[in-house]
Amino acid sequence: MRVFLVLILAICSLGWDGEARAHAVLLETVPSDRSVVAQSPPAIVLRFNETVQPILVQIRGDGGMMIPADLSMVDQELRVAPRGPLAAGGYILSYRVTSADSHPVAGSFLFAVGAAPAAWAAPATSAATSSGWVIAAGISRAIFLAATLIVIGASIFWLVMGGQVPMRPIVFGMAGIAMAAAIVAIYLQGGLLLDAANVRPWESELWRIGYASTRGTASLMAFGGLVVVAGALFWGSRARRPVVGIGIVIVIASFALSGHAATASPRWIAIPTLLFHVAVVAFWLGSLMPLLSVLRQPRALRLAAFKRFSEIAFFVVPQLVVAGAILATLQIQRPDALFASSYGMILALKIVLVGALFVLAACNRWILMPEMTEDSPGYADRFRRTILAELGLGFAILCVTAFLSQTVPPRSVAEHESFAAAASRDTGHTSLTVAGDRKALLMVAPARPGRNTMRVRIFGADEQPIDPLELAIELSNPSAGIEPLRRALASVGDGYFEHVGPEMSVAGRWIVRIEVLVTDFEKASFENELTVK
C-alpha cells in the first residue's frame, strides 16, 4: 500500500515538474522554415526545450508524395533522417509530438533542397508588384488612352462639323493602335494581378486572369466600340453618322467598367463625372489633329471649324475643370493627402501639366484666333506649333494618367474585384465565416496544389471592414497528417490581408483557421474549410 502511494506521488511530481515549465516548445529547426539547403541533409533536426515523444512525423515532397524517414531522439533534438537523399525540390515536414505533460505539440514547416521552388516566390505585397509589369501596363495604357481619345475625339469633331472636315488616314492608324493596345491590356492586367516574377510571360493563365478582370471586360468593350467607329468611318455610307455615334458611346462607356476613378464611391457621382470627363478630354485632344489638317483647307471651312471648336471648348472646358476636381476629391478625400502619397504626388503633377495646357489653349483662343480671322502673315505656322505643343502636352498628361491608374491607392478596388472573380471560379475558393458579430471573408486562388494566393478581409458588427493589428492563418490538412502551419498575413490595403505561398502542396481538404488580433486585448478566430484539387 505504501509503495503504491509513493508511486502515485512520484508520478504526480513528475507530472508537476513537466507542467510547471509549460508545454514543450519547438526552439528551432535545421533547416529552418522556408529555407533552402544546397544538398540533401542527412537529417532534419527539430530542437525542443525538453525531451519529447514523436507521435506522427512525416516529410512530404512535391505533390504531397510521402518521403520515408527514420526518427531518433538525441537529448532534446528530434532527428528525422530520410532513408535516401532528397531530390531537389520543396518539402513540408509535419510533426506531432508529446511532451512530459502529455500535451501534444504540433506544427509544420517548409524547406527546399537545391534551389527555391518556383511556387515559393516572395509574397506579392502591393509595394512589391514587380515593376516590369507596372511599367509595361502603364506604357500600354498611355498608348491606349492617347490613341483611343484621338480616334473618339476626331470622330466627335467630325460629327460636330456635320461630316465636312476630312478624316485623316492617321486616325485609322490610331484606331488600329488603340485596338491592339486594348487587347495587350488584357494580357498585361493578368501579369499585374498574378504579379509573378515566376509566372512565365507566355503562360495562358495571364490571359485568362486578365480576361476575368474588370479591365479585361472594359478592354473588350472599348475594342468593340473602336471597331464600330473605325468601320463606320471607313466603309460607311451616308447613314454612317448614327453608327459612329453609337461606337463613340460604347468606347466612352467602357471607361465606367474599370479603374479606381469609376469605382470610387459614391459611384452615382463618380461614373457620370468620369464619363463626362473622358468625353470632353477626347473632344479636346481628338479635335487637335483634324484642326491641324483644317489649317490647309479653304478659308471658309477653316474659320468655321476653328470657331466651332472654340465655341464648344469655351463652354465645356470650365466643366472639365469641375469634373476633374470632383474626381480628384473622390480619390484623395483631403487636400493634404495630395502630397502625402505617391498617388497624390502623381496627381499633383497631372494638375500642373493640365494648367500648362490651359495656358496654351488660352493663347490659341485669345491671340492666335484673332490673328487667323485677320489673316496675319505666318499665323498658320504659329498655330501649327501651338497645336503640336498641345498634343505633346496632352500625351504627357495621358502618360501621367496611365501611371496614376497603375500606382493607385494600393491595390485598387477593381483589382480586388478581379481577384474575387478568380477566387469564385470553380477552381478557386471563397467563403464567409461568422464568429460573434464579426465576419471573415476568405478567398483562395487558384486552390490547386502548389502556390496559392490567400486573401482575408474581416468585417465588424456594422458590416464595414475592420483594420486588425495582426492577422494570421493556420493551415492544416488532418487527412494528410499535416499539422497547422502558421503564416502571418500582410495588409495589402483596403482592409485586405494577403499571403502568397506554397503551403497547400497536397490536394484534399484543408482547414484554414484565421486568427485576428482585433485590439491589443481582443482576439477573434474563424475556421474555414476548403478543398484543394
Binding site: 500500500m1 503504491f4 502511494l5 502515485i8 506521488l9 508520478i11 504526480c12 511530481s13 507530472g15 508537476w16 507542467e19 510547471a20 515549465r21 509549460a22 508545454h23 516548445v25 488580433l517 491589443d520 486585448f521 481582443e522 482576439k523 478566430s525
Partner: protein, 171 residues
C-alpha cells in the same frame, strides 16, 4: 487502504490542478461574491519564451466601478480611464463618471526564471451569480509579447487564456 487510495488521487488531482495554473498568467481567486471588494492577485509565472517581462497591461472588464492598484517596487503604475456613458453609483452613494479600463505596470524587469504577483483592489459588479469576468492581460517582454487574451471557445483548447473570475451569490 481505500482511504489512502482516495487521498492519493485527491492529492495528485490537487497538484495537477494547481500545476496547470502555473503555466499561465492567472488570477489567484477563481470565484468571488458579487458586489464586494476583492484583492485581485495576478500571477506571472514566466516571461516570453525565456525573455524577461518588462510590462504588464491588464484590461479591466466593464462593470467594475473601483480600481485601486497596489504600488510595486521597481515598477511604474499607470491607469487608462474611460468615461462612462451612464454614471454609476459608488460604494458611498457618490456618482462615478469614469472608470479605470486598463492598468499598466511598466519599467520593471522580471526574469523568466522568477515569478511575481501584480495586485489591485477592485469592486465587483452587482451582476447575476454565474457571470464570468475576463481580465485580458498583455505581457510585453524584452523580446516578444504574450497575449493572455483568449476567451473560451467550444471544442478548442486555449493556448493563452485570459484570467477569469466567476461571480457567486453574496453569502
Amino acid at each position: 487502504m481505500r482511504r489512502s487510495h482516495l487521498f492519493a488521487v485527491a492529492f495528485s488531482t490537487a497538484i495537477l490542478a494547481s500545476s496547470h495554473l502555473s503555466a499561465h498568467v492567472t488570477l489567484d481567486t477563481r470565484e468571488a461574491p458579487t458586489d464586494t471588494y476583492l484583492k485581485a492577485v495576478f500571477n506571472v509565472p514566466h516571461g516570453c519564451e525565456g525573455s524577461p517581462t518588462t510590462r504588464i497591461r491588464i484590461r479591466i472588464p466593464d462593470g467594475i466601478s473601483s480600481v485601486k492598484v497596489q504600488p510595486k517596487q521597481g515598477w511604474d503604475v499607470s491607469t487608462v480611464k474611460t468615461k462612462l456613458a451612464t454614471p454609476a453609483k459608488g460604494g458611498h452613494g457618490e456618482a462615478i463618471t469614469e472608470t479605470v479600463s486598463e492598468v499598466v505596470w511598466s519599467g520593471g524587469r522580471l526574469l523568466d526564471e522568477h515569478i511575481d504577483e501584480f495586485l489591485m483592489q477592485i469592486r465587483l459588479p452587482n451582476a447575476a451569480p454565474g457571470t464570468v469576468l475576463y481580465f485580458p492581460v498583455v505581457q510585453d517582454c524584452e523580446k516578444g509579447t504574450n497575449r493572455w487574451i483568449e476567451l473560451p471557445e467550444a471544442g478548442k483548447s486555449l493556448k493563452q487564456p485570459a484570467p477569469a473570475l466567476r461571480l457567486i451569490a453574496k453569502p
